[in-house]
């Protein structure tokens, strides 16, 4: 019942705060990686270069689907902004269901920009079905398709190092986030700006994807404080010998 209560409270908070955030402007702290992402988006359109968005190997049928869905929300926004560029963005996925949604999301971005006729189905790709196979295929895109920035957001393990190394070799900007601890440490060590932990889920809010994204950050903050209070309360109760 505790789980159901958490879900219901979170849902109520998300709904209420979304309505409230529609009327008030978002006030977000600066995250260097996301500032860089904003700048990279603008530069790629001006330069006529391509962005490569890697969504990782997260399957939508298990717990790793959350990061994949966050990546798709970001992709939707990037696709809309870069659809009229000379070199439109390319997205890659390492899971077949995620690959299908990648194509659908890209198409939705083109539709929203009013240029659906420019959409090419091969701009959303499944490059491999195992983590290393996927990384090898994604490296190929970044090296051969006039890519100016690699944005990797999703479920990545240590294989992310292969992508960062390929980006480094070709002087391609790299922005990375993973929901996996090993992936996060690799990205921290090998990229200039990486997103740590729940920052992965903030990309939509920072790219202006809507009030619901900003509201979900506020809900996360509220829930985090509740977790902190619960941890401290539990420790205090244990200290006084009540449990």
């Amino acid at each position: 019942m505790i789980e159901l209560t958490i879900i219901l409270v979170s849902a109520a908070l998300l709904f209420g705060i979304t309505l409230w955030k529609r009327k008030s402007p978002a006030n977000l702290r600066e995250i260097p990686a996301l500032t860089r992402l904003h700048r990279t988006l603008g530069l790629s359109i001006e330069d006529g270069t391509r962005l490569h968005i890697s969504l990782g190997t997260g399957s939508l049928l298990d717990a790793r689907g959350g990061s994949a869905l966050a990546g798709l929300a970001m992709l939707r926004h990037i696709a809309e902004r870069t659809s009229v560029s000379d070199k439109p963005s390319v997205a890659s996925a390492g899971d077949p269901t995620l690959g299908l949604l990648t194509q659908d999301t890209l198409q939705a971005g083109y539709q929203a920009a009013g240029v659906e006729e420019l959409y090419v189905p091969t701009s959303g790709r499944v490059t491999g079905l195992s983590p290393f196979g996927y990384a090898a295929g994604a490296m190929n895109i970044s090296q051969n398709e006039n890519v100016s920035a690699n944005i990797i957001i999703g479920h990545f393990g240590p294989e992310a190092a292969l992508l960062t190394e390929a980006s480094d070799r070709d002087n391609v900007t790299m922005i990375g986030a993973s929901d996996e601890l090993s992936g996060q440490s690799v990205l921290f060590a090998s990229t200039q700006d990486s997103l740590i932990g729940e920052e992965l889920f903030a990309t939509g809010a920072y790219l202006g994807a809507g009030a619901s994204h900003v509201a979900s950050l506020t809900v996360q903050d509220i829930l985090r404080w509740l977790v902190i209070l619960a941890l401290l309360g539990g420790a205090a109760v244990k200290l006084v010998g009540m449990i």
């Binding site: 998300l14 990061s67 966050a70 929300a73 077949p96 659908d104 960062t164």
Partner: protein, 203 residues
């Protein structure tokens, strides 16, 4: 159509979520999850067709690296045909798996070691701040602490500092990050359930 897909997706999401809390929904949850697994299998085939069309396009346009695309397509078709004729459990197919795919992935893992070492060496040049210094010092201490030496474990580092870092500091930090990721996953899932994010059928 968009409204219809949203209604179907939200209803499916609520039924599957309900199955975890209410026994009445369990049968429906199992049925929907089975359908999802079957659809995921079909999606794998679509993914392979996508891979084929991307690389065929590359060869047709004679793009950079099209030789590798040709090699990939030949290997794909050959493996697919042999697997269809011999069946996936045949000894030859097992040799293809254990003699080609596993060694290639292992060699990529080997490359990874060098890449990570190189990244660690260049970390301070890329980002000279306190967190980078702490990261490198911690990594160095742990590597030294776990090094196999002729006289056994490194005193203090291997017996006290290393275990304390991994069991107390790193474990606490990892749990903090995982709680953050879990909260992010929860709100992202709720957004999809509300239909605020629709990664299916447009937005």
């Amino acid at each position: 159509m968009r409204i219809f897909t949203a209604v179907v997706a939200i209803a499916a999401g609520i039924l599957i979520l309900g199955g975890y809390f209410f026994p009445a929904f369990e049968g429906m949850q199992a049925l929907l999850l089975n359908w999802a697994v079957i659809l995921a299998g079909a999606a794998a085939l679509v993914g392979i067709f996508n891979l084929v069309s991307v690389h065929t396009d590359k060869i047709r346009r004679q793009e950079k690296g099209s030789v590798y695309s040709a090699l990939l397509l030949i290997s794909l078709v050959a493996t697919f045909l042999f697997a269809m004729i011999l069946r996936p459990n045949h000894a030859t197919m097992k040799i293809v798996l254990s003699g080609i795919i596993i060694p290639v992935e292992a060699s990529l893992m080997g490359l990874l070691t060098i890449s990570l070492l190189y990244a660690a060496v260049r970390l301070l040049r890329r980002r000279a701040d306190l967190t980078s210094i702490i990261f490198l010092v911690t990594a160095a201490l742990l590597i030294l602490g776990s090094a196999t030496l002729p006289f056994g474990n490194m005193p203090v580092l291997g017996t006290f500092v290393g275990p304390w870092i991994t069991q107390v500091l790193a474990l606490g930090g990892a749990r903090g990050i995982l709680i953050g990721v879990a909260l992010g996953t929860l709100t992202t899932g709720l957004r999809v359930l509300f239909g605020a994010d629709r990664p299916y059928g447009g937005n």
